[in-house]
Amino acid sequence: MTGNHTATSRDWTRDLRDALGYPLTSDARLLSAAVVTLATYVVLVLSSFPQFSVQVLTTDPTDVGYAVTALTREVYLTTGYLGLALVATYAVLTGVAVTNALALVQRARRRSASTIVGVLPGLLAAGCASCGAGVLGALGFVGAMAVLPFDGNLLRLGGIALLLFFLGRAGDPRTCSLDGGGRA
């Protein structure tokens, strides 16, 4: 029982490593992970005070830098370095998850059905990342943060844990998971 458990978690760790390493396998993938990371960070930070962000961007879209800088400081002042680190980590993991999900979708298109089981965890990771971004953003709302445990950091940590779990389940998107980690 314990042995199985250890083996499973070892598989998960290896798969997670593979998943995180996948964007490093081509320049285009690396670039896409970087772009998605930056975009996610901007969305996460801007959604911490949506009314302000919308007003600044509608007044002058070139003020996006001002809005991101001001709200980055706001996140830091409200939740400290830990909160800021969690947002940045979330953005990086989303970059990886979306890049991997794109690969999965492309592969699923090339191969016929029956790959849905292998594709699912990757898509869940990407879905969890994008949905989590909205939820984290909405809950990062200035003021509302104060009532959440640890100023909302616990929730951010939860989002990251979920993202890591699905990334580990999906593994390297070029391989197909069978029976909990076996390679096809």
């Binding site: 390493g21 964007p23 490093l24 396998t25 081509s26 320049d27 690396l30 992970a33 970087a34 990371t37 930056l38 960070y41 005070f49 009314q51 302000f52 962000s53 007003q55 600044v56 007044t59 002058d60 003020d63 001002y66 991101v68 800088t69 001001a70 980055t72 400081r73 706001e74 996140v75 830091y76 002042l77 409200t78 939740t79 400290g80 370095y81 800021l84 680190a85 947002v87 940045a88 953005a91 990086v92 709302f141 200035v142 003021g143 104060a146 100023d151």
Partner: protein, 245 residues
């Protein structure tokens, strides 16, 4: 072997460098203190009277600027709100010099307690300090107001308590701590009650966080809204728009 499909040292280094740079920039931006030492003391301060056309009760509230300025700026704030501090230190001085001291607009400070448990008590402190100095030394209120925001530490809301606000009050020249304490005890409940109607006006204007502003043209009744610590230019533009509306 083709590089494509493999994790190359070059890409690993680029990715590692990019992640470190990203983290570094985020940490640097977050910890950058934009706050300058300056704080704004208006040329003119007066106590408001009556309820405005926008339904804001200004009776006895601290207002920066000329009594007959054509534009009212209702500024909902919270002493525990970091974003308000950013407005106070980065935007208010210029806004004050360019629009309040010139007679274009007047700015009413209205509490909107929303950040932490001590937000409401902090608002009561502010109101009591103002009551005590309104006639004798209105500048002392602005000094106290800036000193209260300056107490905000790097992070969190734990700093705000009776001791901190008592110390700020004691250290502000022209403010008598014992008079303020008496006001808190005797008038605290009624001050709290009077906060809510004005907060309701902010909520009706769909202001969901602090700092929140409504710019109101007292002649035409036109109004505009700004939420958050906007740069000065956005305020200047909004004032111009409301003035012409």
């Amino acid at each position: 072997m083709d590089e494509e499909g493999n994790i190359t040292r070059r890409r690993a280094l680029i990715a590692g460098g990019a992640v470190l740079t990203f983290g570094g920039v985020v940490a640097y931006t977050g910890s950058q203190s934009g706050a300058t030492a300056q704080h704004y003391v208006p040329d003119n301060t007066h106590a408001g009277t009556g309820t405005t056309g926008f339904d804001v009760d200004l009776d006895g509230r601290p207002i920066a600027g000329e009594r007959d300025a054509p534009i009212d700026i209702y500024y909902w704030t919270d002493y525990l709100c970091p974003f308000c501090k950013q407005f106070e230190t980065e935007t208010l001085p210029e806004l004050g010099r360019e629009h309040l001291d010139t007679g274009d607009a007047r700015l009413a400070v209205l509490p909107y307690p929303n950040i932490g448990e001590y937000s409401t008590p902090a608002a009561v402190w502010g109101r009591c300090v103002w009551s005590q100095v309104a006639d004798s030394d209105p500048d002392a209120f602005w000094n106290w107001h800036a000193a209260a925001f300056a107490e905000q530490p790097e992070s969190g809301t734990d700093w705000a308590d009776d001791e901190t606000f008592a110390a700020v009050t004691e250290q502000t020249a022209g403010v008598d701590l014992s008079a303020v304490e008496t006001c808190r005890e005797e008038r605290g409940a009624s001050i709290r009650e009077r906060i809510e109607p004005n907060v309701a006006v902010a909520r009706e204007s769909r202001i969901q966080g602090t700092p929140g502003f409504v710019l109101y043209n007292r002649d035409s009744g036109a109004a505009g809204k700004l939420v958050g610590a906007h740069p000065y230019e956005n305020f200047a533009e909004a004032i111009e728009k409301v003035m012409e509306a």
